[in-house]
């Protein structure tokens, strides 16, 4: 698919030299006002409520602060104590555990769906619509619905397992199964999202490639591994990048399903940030942890962007 921006030369490139000469500047006061009138409605909120707080968070992370009494500058102390605290490692491990369960499930499921729903099929857009439905519902509703589906007592999943004589686990009430429950609910919600991204990718694959592969005698599996997967790699890349960014920030469904429990078994990074701020009055430490999280997300994303050369095929 072609992005029109790529085709269009940027309007009026600034002159290479003599940017200091004031005479060259055509911008009249009226034009400046016009630009400001169009730009300020977005620039003011973005500055006040995103960029400003971002810088402030960095400052707060070097202070001790309970949101009420004045801040006290303590240097790197928050970072030092976070890195020394074994709970920090645990909350990152729980978050990574969530991603490790969620991502393969949602990608393989979404890919299977995209492949199936890319075939000639009666009522295809209706079925796509059904699979996409959970995407538009809120995480809180999803978490609560799944708490009920996976309820150890009278939950429909354990009732159904009972018909086969299986004694269902305690799901979100059991430290060993709580994260599994969150992963199941999250995958159900996001399956349709991944499906739509991959379907859009599948539709850009040139059918001639399949014909050429057939002429070369490639069977269905070979065509899948040698044509579909490589040609789909930009979409796969996007799904993985987005899933990791969102996965590290997992919160809503954890808050509503387990609140980090039982026994801290699903305490993820953002739940810890929330608890530090609003439960333990340690806003400075929370800011430091949120910056650590941001740096981790940034590093993971940058590594993927660098690493994509090895496996993502554009074109």
């Amino acid at each position: 698919m072609v992005l029109p921006t790529v085709l269009r030369a940027p309007a009026a490139p600034p002159p290479r030299y003599a940017p200091l000469s004031r005479k060259k500047k055509r911008a009249s006061a009226g034009y400046v006002l016009t630009v400001l009138a169009f730009l300020l409605p977005s620039a003011i909120p973005l500055t006040l409520f995103v960029l400003g707080p971002m810088v402030a968070a960095a400052w707060i992370s070097f202070t001790e602060w309970n949101l009420i009494t004045p801040m006290e500058f303590i240097g790197w102390e928050n970072y030092r104590s976070l890195l020394a605290d074994e709970r920090t490692g645990q909350v990152f491990l729980h978050t990574i555990g969530y991603i490790a369960g969620y991502l393969p499930l949602v990608y393989i499921g979404g890919l299977a769906l995209a492949l199936a729903l890319n075939q000639a099929l009666k009522g295809r857009s209706f079925w796509r619509g059904i699979y996409f439905l959970p995407v538009v519902t809120s995480w809180i509703a999803v978490a609560i619905v799944w708490r009920w589906l996976l309820n150890p007592n009278n939950g429909v999943v354990n009732l159904a397992l009972g018909w086969f004589g299986i004694d269902g686990p305690g799901w979100w009430t059991d430290p060993d199964w709580a994260m599994v429950s969150i992963i199941l609910a999250s995958s159900w919600k996001d399956l349709g999202f991944v499906m739509v991204i991959l379907l859009a990718g599948l539709q850009t694959i040139n059918p001639d490639l399949y014909d050429a592969a057939k002429v070369d005698g490639a069977g269905a599996w070979k065509r899948f591994f040698n044509v579909t997967l490589p040609m789909l790699s930009p979409s796969t890349f996007f799904v993985i990048v987005i899933s990791l960014i969102n996965g590290f920030q997992v919160f809503d469904q954890v808050y509503a399903m387990t609140g980090g429990g039982p026994g801290g078994s699903t305490q993820v990074v953002v739940q810890q940030i929330y608890d530090l701020t609003f439960r333990y009055g340690a806003a400075g430490e929370a800011s430091a942890l949120s910056w650590l999280l941001f740096i981790v997300i940034l590093a993971v994303t940058v590594i993927q962007i660098i690493g994509q050369k090895r496996w993502v095929h554009y074109g």
Binding site: A43, G201, F238
Partner: protein, 275 residues
Amino acid sequence: MAKSPRTRPRSIVLHVVVIAGAIAMFFPFLWTFITSITPGAGFSIAPQLWPENPSFEAYQTLFTERPFGRVVANSIGLALVTTLAQLFTSATAAYAFSRLPFRGRGVVFAVYLATMMIPLQVLIVPLFAELKAFGLLDTYLGALLPTFASAFGIFLLRQAVNQVPRELDEAAKLDGAGHFRVFTQIIIPNIRPALATLTVFAFMSSWNAFLWPLVVLRSPELQTLPIALAGLQGQYTTAWDVVMAGSIVSILPMLALYIFAQKYIIQGVASSGIK
């Protein structure tokens, strides 16, 4: 695609698998609804696929014992204001980034896009402090202000404005139109599909927003659906019919929106993947 007899069984299997999967995907919604009309569903009563004495009393509980009427109105009001604000701030910014060249525009646009990368969690503490200083904690305005501009919306609309032929601007300018007239009379009518996509996305994300409203809106009468829903779960730990009725109240408007705007939602998601 020519249908040879050989592909028939394969096609039947495909249909069966897709339909079975769709039923499994839809089942949680159905079960939620069934539970909500099964009085006393929960610890002692398991809902049946076909409830014996269906009743809407759980919904009554929501709207009489709990302030759900107010909560629904809050959610609708906040979502409408957020949507209108984002349409305005995104369209104006998109016009500037597409049609108003100025020095440093590329850098400003890059900074705008970078704000998409910043996780909300990093902003929570300073935002909380900032709105506290403004005296806006526990007010609608406090919940609304940080949602007024969206980098995603600006990006989406800029793509659309770029696709409007410049000849249209030039023709209008020859007729003596300034930038404001070009914007309102040429650009806006020509980017309607993108505006529709942004409308749906802004409304949806406001309707489903959780972390920020949870932090800023503390009074029960100001809360939005996701917050009230999370609270409901704490209050009615065993009355699953009431909790599920709350879920249905929260889900239903989105399903309705989805049915009417499916095209725009799927386009929006799909286009976000093509970069």
